[in-house]
């Protein structure tokens, strides 16, 4: 069995176990009730998406230094998965906010900076589609991948800079140990899951580039 297959099955098993524990085994929060169970996936997916954007920053820097296409392909794979994760973070946050805060959305600094983060990396993907030249595409994307990363620490620090509606970051240290364990379990599960998605997307990106370089007449 190859690494990718192992990672796929491991992701499925861990995410499944994480969801069962979060939904059915750990008790509901005394204050926030059942809806607090959304945070067991909201927080890990948010953090892992930011890690994905850090990988984009690293790969973009490596591309500009070495001009090797493989770094660009890893970067675009991580961006796609990061964009998916950031969109899910906002949706999950909104579903948690409605019963807790009484509103679906607020222009709170954490929410607003996260929405801007999503727009930046969606823009990264749009810019890539504007040219057919692989080198030019990789160069433009790398610049956005590096400059865009500035937004990640802004998102993280927004809850400290502007004390507003969104609470400070949730972590195993900020909650009772049984809740912290479930959070860590789900973090590990989604980390493996997102690594699997990036790996799959990278494999596809290599095939796409190979087809692009050989020309349309060579395509199946």
């Amino acid at each position: 069995m190859n690494t990718q297959r192992v990672l796929g099955w491991l992701s499925l098993a861990l995410i499944g176990i994480g969801a069962v524990v979060a939904l059915f085994i750990v008790p509901a929060d005394g204050t926030q009730g059942e809806v607090q169970r959304l945070l067991y996936i909201h927080v890990p997916i948010a953090v892992i998406s930011e890690i994905a954007f850090f990988i984009v920053f690293l790969m973009s820097t490596l591309y500009l230094v070495q001009r090797k296409q493989k770094w660009d392909l890893v970067a675009v794979s991580a961006v796609e998965v990061g964009v998916l994760g950031t969109a899910l973070t906002l949706i999950l946050g909104s579903l948690w906010a409605r019963p807790t805060w009484g509103i679906w959305w607020d222009w709170d600094p954490r929410l607003t900076t996260t929405a801007i983060l999503l727009v930046i990396y969606a823009g990264y993907l749009i810019v890539r589609s504007m040219t057919d030249d692989p080198d030019q595409r990789a160069r433009w994307a790398a610049v956005i991948g590096i400059i865009g990363f500035v937004q990640v620490p802004i998102v993280y620090l927004s809850v400290f800079w502007w004390r507003s509606l969104h609470q400070p970051p949730s972590s195993p240290r900020s909650m009772a140990s049984q809740f912290g364990m479930v959070l860590m379990l789900n973090f590990a599960a989604w980390a493996v899951g997102f690594a699997y998605l990036v790996l799959r997307r990278y494999r596809l990106a290599r095939l796409e580039l190979a087809a692009e370089l050989t020309g349309p007449e060579e395509l199946p």
Partner: protein, 43 residues
């Protein structure tokens, strides 16, 4: 029912997350299959 314990929010949150991730994975797999070269009779 208190909204904090309304199952709609949990079902919607976990449901959307799993469907979105599976849909993305499916899209990648379908695209990958499109690139699989048919070796033909000589292959």
């Amino acid at each position: 029912m208190n909204d904090l314990n309304n199952p709609f929010f949990l079902i919607a949150g976990y449901g959307i997350t799993f469907v979105a991730v599976l849909a993305y994975l499916l899209r990648v797999r379908v695209r990958e299959r499109e690139f699989r070269v048919d070796p033909g009779p000589e292959g």
